[in-house]
Amino acid sequence: MDFEYTPEEQAFREEVRTFLAENLPRKAERGTDFLATWLAKVREKGWVGFSWPKEFGGSDGGLIEQTILREEMALAKAPPLGTSFMGLAWVGPGIMQYGTEAQKKKFIPDILDSKVTWCTGYSEPNHGSDLASIQCKAVREGDHYLVNGQKTWTTGAAFSQWIILLTRTSFDVEVKHNGITCLLVAMDSPGIDVRPIENMAGDRHFAEIFFTDVKVPVENRLGEEGDGWKVTVSALANERSSIGEVTQMFGKLDTLKALVKRTNRQGKPASKDPKVRRTLAVFEAKIAAMKYNGLRYLTKQIRGEPLTSETSVNKLHRASLEIEMDDFAVELTGQSGLQLKGGSDAVENGRWAKSSLNWPNVVIGGGTPNIQRNIIAERILGLPKD
């Protein structure tokens, strides 16, 4: 057990810090072309797709270096390394594993160069947590599939050029997983209709997508027909280190502490109230637990030991923390805390009020807390399925 970094690892951290110092101006000083410059530079450093094999344009970055890179980026609140989050997280690795040579050539470089943004078509109405029961239909007709159906809760659908789509190609099979096929679909294909979903915070992160006789060339099928479930499960299993998240959450805790320090309750400084102090400390203990849990799992991964479903532990922590931290800020600041952007008495121009209504993916959608509890109970503790 050793929390020290090797000289090589330390040197890499220094390299990242130096890069950030030289290339990340303060928010106010960023010009209109800042993002394009930034993306080009991190691409040049090999930090987009850092862990990907060199043959695909990555850097073969090791797990510890990845962790260092994510941690420093999060600390500096830097923009993302590449614009296609889904492309880097699911689509790229999926194509590298299951794609044809033509697909690799066509799609991978554009992801790394931030030229193409991807979204994912997994969830459907009425099948939130139950991915295997999808109904969106693809029928093979010669050299293309004809897709009809609906997807929902798709993040970033409005600005993505491509979607990785789970479709049902067979309704006959007994086991429902076997009739699923994965297609790569251009979002500008005729017959695709994107309808943004407004959430309770008034934002439109998600969308419904309707597919009406959309033609998808067979060459854009990822994996064999009927292998869609396997392709997806392997993508979902591609768990990532959560260290960037933890750094962000420590950052959020710092802003909460600053808020506490300048807030009065019942005419007294909130920072002297043992209950407020204790709440902040519980947040800190949970975030720190996520950090050291994450490092233990990272060590396992580095050693090549199999992770079962331990990452669900951090997902549960994060789900409750995301809601509790925002709600704590709202509660702390009383009637001021209710005001939104532009309110005369709004707290930090309503950021906490807004974020308390902007629940992240980890709370809603496919990974609801009760599902995570089932995963832990069944896969780790060996309890019987529902």
């Binding site: 509660e331 532009g342 209504l357």
Partner: protein
């Protein structure tokens, strides 16, 4: 000893529920709140003619002469559908005039409040979370036949739809309430997470208020009115929380996941049972507190602090879990359950959150 409603009260409850369901369903609430300042003259006139605005106003002043327990029942029912009508503000203004007004002021204001002709609101404290006489910082300086108010009053419920504002101030002779016509001040609507609870702030630029529009109050009066406010808000919380529970358990019966209605999983059904325990419990505490206002006012502080102290945290938990148990759909603007989550957050600090009220319970209990 009888802790139940009379037949007349049950009829009143039915009347309110039927009227609100028909005249102010959620589609109407959404229409009204899509506008700048949600208010409907038509609905206001209708509920005025039903007598709900004069419930606690004595008959001699044109009201119905009922009690706070009856008002609590009306507020519970009107809150079921998150009605944005300022019934609560009107009731608090009436309670303030009853408590603090002299005979002339009562005769002057109460009939107009009971008929809905005057629409009024009450604003006590000037700090976002401090419920104490010290938190009344709007200052009045003496002028001929009255005072001059200069400053700002934040957090004024229903300021936009009111034409008269009852504002607490600190004058040379102590605390008081000033009745101010809307045209004398500048009202700013403040954007808030609960659009069904419009709130404004008020700027008073050397506003002259004549003596007949001033009602001196003691710190005890101030505390009494704040306790009435807490009773009114908690009554609305009972109705809104109960509806959240009903919506969520109905959804849990219908929504199928992995081949079963989600309400069959104990992870969902036990949470719903806990919600029921909470709603049932703060409902009982609230009814008792409402009864205390008219029949055992000495017990009011402890009674309402128990009720609001319990309800403030419980309703937010119900709001959050109500949305959470709906899954992703509960999170969308289109779906109604999220409006109840917002109402739960709005209700929490109003007239004291659980930290304030539970600490007061400890103090009143000799700790």
């Amino acid at each position: 000893m009888n802790f139940g409603f009379t037949q007349e009260q049950e009829m009143l409850r039915d009347q309110v529920r039927r009227f609100m369901t028909e005249a102010c369903p959620m589609s109407t609430v959404r229409e009204l709140t899509a506008k700048d300042a949600p208010f409907s003259e038509k609905l206001w006139d209708q509920i005025a003619s039903l007598g709900w605005l004069g419930l606690i106003v004595p008959e001699q002043y044109g009201g119905i002469g009922l009690k706070w327990i009856d008002l609590a029942l009306v507020l519970e029912e009107t809150a079921r559908g998150l009605s944005p009508l300022p019934i609560l503000s009107q009731a608090l203004a009436s309670a303030a005039v009853l408590r603090a007004g002299n005979d002339e002021q009562r005769a002057n204001w109460l009939p107009a409040l009971a008929s809905g002709e005057v629409r009024a609101t009450l604003a006590l404290y000037d700090e976002p979370n401090w419920f104490d006489a010290q938190a009344v910082t709007l200052t009045g300086i003496p002028v001929d036949d009255g005072i001059e108010l200069h400053g700002r009053k934040p957090f004024v419920a229903d300021a936009m739809s009111s034409n008269q504002l009852l504002l607490a101030y600190l004058g040379p002779a102590g605390l008081g309430l000033a009745a101010i016509g809307k045209s004398q001040v500048k009202v700013t609507e403040e954007p808030s997470m609960d659009v069904t609870k419009p709130t404004g702030s008020i700027i008073l630029d050397h506003v002259q208020v004549s003596a007949d529009r001033l009602m001196p109050i003691s710190p005890e009066d101030l505390a009494y009115l704040a306790d009435c406010g807490a009773v009114a808000v908690t009554a609305e919380m009972v109705g809104a929380a109960d509806t959240t529970l009903t919506m969520t358990s109905n959804y849990a019966k219908e929504r199928i996941q992995f081949g079963k209605p989600i309400g069959q999983y104990q992870g969902v059904k036990h949470r719903l049972a806990d919600m029921f325990v909470d709603v049932e419990s703060f409902r009982s505490l609230l009814y008792y507190a409402a009864w205390c206002i008219d029949d055992a006012v000495g017990e009011l502080p402890r009674a309402i602090s128990l009720a609001k102290g319990y309800a403030s945290d419980a309703f937010v938990r119900i709001g959050i879990d109500g949305v959470g148990l709906h899954g992703a759909i509960g999170f969308t603007a289109e779906y109604d359950v999220q409006l109840y989550l917002k109402r739960s957050k709005w209700s929490r600090p109003m007239y004291g959150d659980s930290d304030y009220h539970l600490d007061r319970v400890a103090t009143l209990g000799g700790i």
